[in-house]
């Protein structure tokens, strides 16, 4: 067919013959007849239209509106820690505040950062540039939080970090524009390690995730254990992430240490705990210490696996009547008990709105100053204070996971062993590398 077409065609052949010889899926770049040309314009408009319509956003001005943007992982690993539940906690705070500040309505925006620093940074940049957002809440993955706080500082907007663990957020990455509310790795590692050494757990084996975060935790724990008269009898580093912990757990068992410390997070901690349970680490007389583990992790693991684990938490739903009452309300709306991060989002939002109402301004520096002057007294914190470096200092709790036989219900998982006073729990300002408090 092709051969016929081309043989018949003379040197002066027209486009018809040429296009007949062209295979069906010819590249767009080949010659296209006049008939098609007419159709290409609408096509290009269509393509560009689909491209643009996605990016067009309403440009409105926040005069007379307080806008709060909630940025968190809504669909990935940290969904249960903050996620949609955190958004609801924020909405509860807005509702409890009455929905308006001095007559100005409060508007809540939310977005999923998918644990990606560029998505988070891009979203917050857009919020500030186009929507005039006054405060950004949530903020879970540390890479996202640090990226966002840089933009907040550049654009002079306020942020309250509730979900991140990295203590660097108020250390080398501190800015006058953000506050770190719930917890960080410093009290988690220090609180847990010190309390356990004080109770006689003086020989430790450390299981460390082999990246900067794990190394930092490991360093913190080593320092505390040594300072309090304990010893580190051994340590092993595992790649991040790891699913098979059996050889590491065997090494921990062989070390003869009284305590096995888990300097890792997320799925690594969960996998290590599951393996430890299968190998009967606790039954054989060793204790486990989790350095970064949350209510939702313990709930997911089940008490059978997690029992006996000691950890530090910034808040627990079953601390007192006030926490129980609030958690009950939350439970009715979300069908689960709140984590410390979700409670912290509620508490910090209320504190922020109170400061806006008191100053009658949404100016970042004014509101931040007012927030710092006012002690935090609510169901989350008792006399909490926000330091110059942005750290909200409040009491932490050393807890032990209950045995299944002691638990009264699905969410009854912790025994509170002791309260660690905030001043003792958090990194002292004297050790800070934050530019705002140094020298």
């Amino acid at each position: 067919m092709h051969a016929t077409a081309s043989c018949n065609a003379t040197a002066t052949s027209n486009a018809t013959a040429t296009s007949n010889a062209t295979p069906v899926a010819s590249p767009l770049s080949r010659r296209i007849t006049a008939a098609t040309r007419r159709r290409l314009l609408p096509l290009s408009a269509l393509m560009m239209g689909s491209l643009l319509s996605a990016g067009i956003a309403q440009a409105d001005i926040s005069d007379g509106v307080i806008k709060i943007g909630y940025l968190a992982d809504m669909s990935g690993t940290y969904r249960d820690l903050a996620g949609p539940g955190g958004l609801d906690a924020l909405k509860m705070a807005v509702e409890d505040f009455g929905g308006s500040v001095n007559g100005m309505p409060i508007e809540v925006l939310s977005a999923d950062d998918r644990n990606s620093a560029d998505v988070g940074a891009n979203t917050v940049r857009g919020w500030i540039d186009q929507q005039n957002v006054d405060m950004v809440a949530g903020l879970v993955a540390s890479s996202v939080s640090i990226a966002v706080t840089r933009i907040l500082a550049e654009q002079d907007t306020l942020g309250i970090v509730s979900g991140s663990a990295a203590s660097s957020i108020t250390n080398e990455h501190c800015t006058p524009n953000h506050v770190h509310w719930v917890y960080d790795t410093y009290p988690l590692a220090h609180g847990t390690a010190k309390a356990i050494v004080d109770e006689g757990g003086d020989s430790w084996f450390l299981l460390t995730a082999d990246y900067a975060f794990g190394h930092a935790l490991e360093g913190d724990v080593e320092k505390v254990v040594n300072e309090n008269g304990g010893t580190i009898v051994g340590k092993v580093r595992h790649p991040f992430p790891t699913s098979d912990f059996s050889s590491y757990i065997l090494q921990a068992q062989g070390s003869g240490a009284k305590i096995v410390g888990l300097a890792n997070a997320g799925s690594d901690t969960v996998n290590a705990l599951t393996t430890a349970s299968q190998f009967g680490v606790v039954q054989a007389g060793q204790s486990l210490a989790g350095l970064l583990i949350f209510l939702n992790d313990v709930h997911a693991l089940g008490l059978e696996v997690a029992q006996g684990l000691q950890l530090t938490t910034g808040w627990y739903w079953d601390l007192n009547d006030e926490t129980r009452a609030w958690s009950q309300r939350y439970h009715e709306r979300n069908e689960r008990k709140p984590t410390m991060v979700q409670a912290g989002i509620y508490s910090s939002t209320l504190h922020y709105l109170n400061a806006v109402a008191a100053t009658g301004s949404d100016d970042t520096a004014t509101v931040r100053a007012k927030m710092g002057e006012t002690p935090v007294n609510d169901m989350f914190a008792n006399n909490g204070t926000i330091r110059a470096d942005g750290r909200m200092v409040h009491d932490m709790y050393l807890v032990k996971v209950k045995a299944p036989s002691d638990s009264q219900g699905e969410w009854d998982v912790y025994d509170v062993i002791r309260t660690i006073p905030g001043a003792e729990a958090y990194r002292p300002l004297a050790d800070s590398q934050c530019e705002l408090v140094k020298g």
Binding site: H2, S6, T12, S13, N14, A15, A17, T18, S19, T22, V24, A25, S26, L28, S29, I32, T33, T36, R37, R39, L40, L41, L43, S44, M47, M48, S50, L51, L52, S53, A54, G55, A57, S75, R79, S110, A111, D112, R114, S116, A117, D118, V119, A121, N122, T123, R125, G126, S142, S143, I146, A147, R150, A166, S168, H173, D210, Y211, A212, F213
Partner: protein, 333 residues
């Protein structure tokens, strides 16, 4: 065959006096739209689309025109991003253009190393080797002190271009990124339509035959691989400048998967496909993340991917081209 060749040339000669082709009109319209876009849409969002379109175009150069499916392109994106980010953050005052050049060169060097190893195999083995090498880079980036591991590299200054243009301004930066994109796109177009590009396509269609015709196919594949890696590095370097950060997300295998999704959705082996694909994927992610369907982003993108693979395998642009070709054939009859 020879007659066909002559015929083609004759046909082209007939229309030679620089007639405006529909394709030229399309490119011109797109170019003008690109110039006007930042005044309508949010520039940072557009820059993100352009960076990913460049990344997808680089990937497409390899998959669409050489037939090599690399599952490790994130390594080049991240290398470009980290090198540029590190240099600009550590040496303030360094021109952003130099930073981008350095990031691109870094990716070229890495691409040469990876390419030399990977092109020895084809198909699934090639994909696996590139994936394995990219995972090695991921672990390097997570461990290396200069990347700050999980936290990522932050606060990269945008600086001033040639000491004149202040890139802190989103619109100024947009035109810089747009210029980079247009230049890279023109380069890819030139490569694809060059004799070199014809040989690449021959390799894609039938490598043993290309060898039997006397082409040293490994050398061609390596050059294409290095070119693709370099352009991916350029995309990463530019992205760092836009977002002022480089993070591990760039190096993870999810990123390698995302670029495949963009390319397939837009149309493999078409020049505009990656641009449309990245616009669609980034746009959807952006819109869905802020909507009530926020939790469903991954599910929706997955479903779109399945529909695309099942029903329009050549992608959006690919289908458009086929449709045009069919119409044309019908009219010609």
């Amino acid at each position: 065959m020879a007659v066909l060749q002559q015929d083609h040339q004759a046909a082209r000669a007939g229309s030679a006096p620089r007639r405006i082709t529909p394709l030229g009109v399309l490119y011109l319209v797109l170019f003008l739209l690109g110039l006007l876009a930042p005044w309508v849409a949010y520039p940072v969002f557009l820059m993100k689309i352009l960076c990913f379109a460049l990344f997808a175009s680089a990937f497409n150069l390899l998959l669409g025109f050489v037939g090599l499916l690399s599952f490790g392109h994130a390594a080049f994106l991240a290398t470009g991003a980290y090198i540029t980010g590190f240099l600009l953050a550590e040496y303030p005052g360094l021109s952003p253009a130099l930073g981008i050049v350095a990031g691109t060169l870094g990716a070229v060097v890495l691409g040469t190393l990876f390419g030399a190893l990977a092109i020895r195999r084809q198909g699934i083995y090639f994909a696996m080797i590139t994936l394995a090498l990219a995972q090695m880079m991921f672990f390097f980036f997570i461990q290396a002190p200069f990347t700050h591991g999980e936290d990522g590299l932050h606060g990269v200054p945008r600086g001033e271009l040639f000491g004149v243009f202040d890139l802190a301004n989103n619109h100024t930066l947009y035109y810089f990124v747009f210029a980079i994109f247009v230049a890279a796109f023109a380069l890819i177009r030139r490569v694809v339509h060059s004799p070199f590009g014809q040989v690449l396509k021959a390799i894609r269609e039938n490598e043993p035959r290309a060898i039997s015709l006397g082409y040293h196919t490994d050398a061609y594949k390596l050059v294409a691989f290095v070119l693709s890696a370099g352009l991916a590095g350029l995309a990463g370097a530019t992205k760092t400048l836009v977002f002022q950060l480089a993070s591990l997300g760039d190096a993870s295998w999810h990123m390698s998967g995302e670029v495949i999704l963009m390319t397939l959705l837009g149309g493999v082996g078409t020049l505009l496909g990656p641009l449309v694909g990245s616009g669609l994927v980034i746009g959807l992610q952006h819109q869905l993340a802020q909507s009530a369907l926020g939790d469903w982003v991954s599910v929706i993108l997955g479903a779109i991917f399945v529909v695309c693979v099942l029903s329009f395998r050549s992608g959006i642009i690919g289908e458009c081209q086929r449709w045009i070709a069919r119409r044309q054939q019908r009219e010609d009859k």
